[in-house]
Amino acid sequence: MEIAISNILFAFFSAMVVLPIIYMLITSNIIRAAFALVISLLGLAAIYVLLNAELMAVVQILIYAGGIIVLLLFGIMLTRRISEEGVTTEHRNLLLSGVIACLLMGALTWFILESSLQWTGDPVAIDQVERIGISFMTDYLLGFELIAFILLVALVGASYLAKRSGNI
């Protein structure tokens, strides 16, 4: 019975990921697309929970659904005057790109099914957050420091680039 429930959950959340994306591909309204992306990212967070990756799910909601989406919305609003009918965009190269994407999707699916990868071993224990924190402070300390530094530099750089005078 448990199996059935997790299957149903997976199907539901996958739909929650996939459908908004398809909507994003069809629509030409940027703001709607951004909100569709929020739904899809939340669905992805749920999928992470299904994968026993709670920390990742929280990070996903905080950073993607929270931070990046807000950033994107700001970007949209700053580069478009909403009052105009400027929030829409056009499509191009539909045919070729569609063929490419379908080909790639087909190829990837084929490889995945052909490889018939399996999970081995037992699921990871429940105290993941603690263990991830410990590895950040031990094995991955250098990477952790570096990524923090990169984030800082990127944010400073971004605010410099975006400053009003625009005179670099």
């Binding site: 990046i68 499509h91 990871v124 680039l161």
Partner: protein
């Protein structure tokens, strides 16, 4: 709990990648292109997390968190550049930025 095969997650991730790619290719607006890139990054994250489910080291999740941070930095920089482009070209359509074209 382990009843859902790994391949399902991988196929979901492949779908994310392909739709992100399609979005990058067909949309004329630069912000849409950014959305597509975010989708592709998410596809990579999903793969990493899925593979790390049975890994006691949790390497995959740690990498995924790194990549989320990089994605955040990338989005910030890209939007700042976009604002500058908008200032000088008064447009965020990629077609208007073709100064290399004759």
């Amino acid at each position: 709990m382990s009843a859902i095969p790994l391949t399902y997650y991988l196929i979901l991730s492949a779908f994310l990648l392909c739709s992100g790619l399609l979005m990058v290719l067909i949309k004329k607006n630069a912000i849409f292109v950014l959305l597509g890139i975010e989708l592709m990054l998410n596809a990579a994250n999903l793969n990493l997390v899925a593979f790390s489910k049975f890994n006691p080291n949790l390497d995959g999740q740690i990498f995924a968190i790194f990549s989320v941070v990089v994605a955040a930095a990338e989005a910030a920089i890209a939007l700042a550049i976009l604002l500058n482009i908008y200032k000088s070209f008064n447009s965020s359509d990629l077609d208007d930025l073709n100064t290399m074209e004759y």
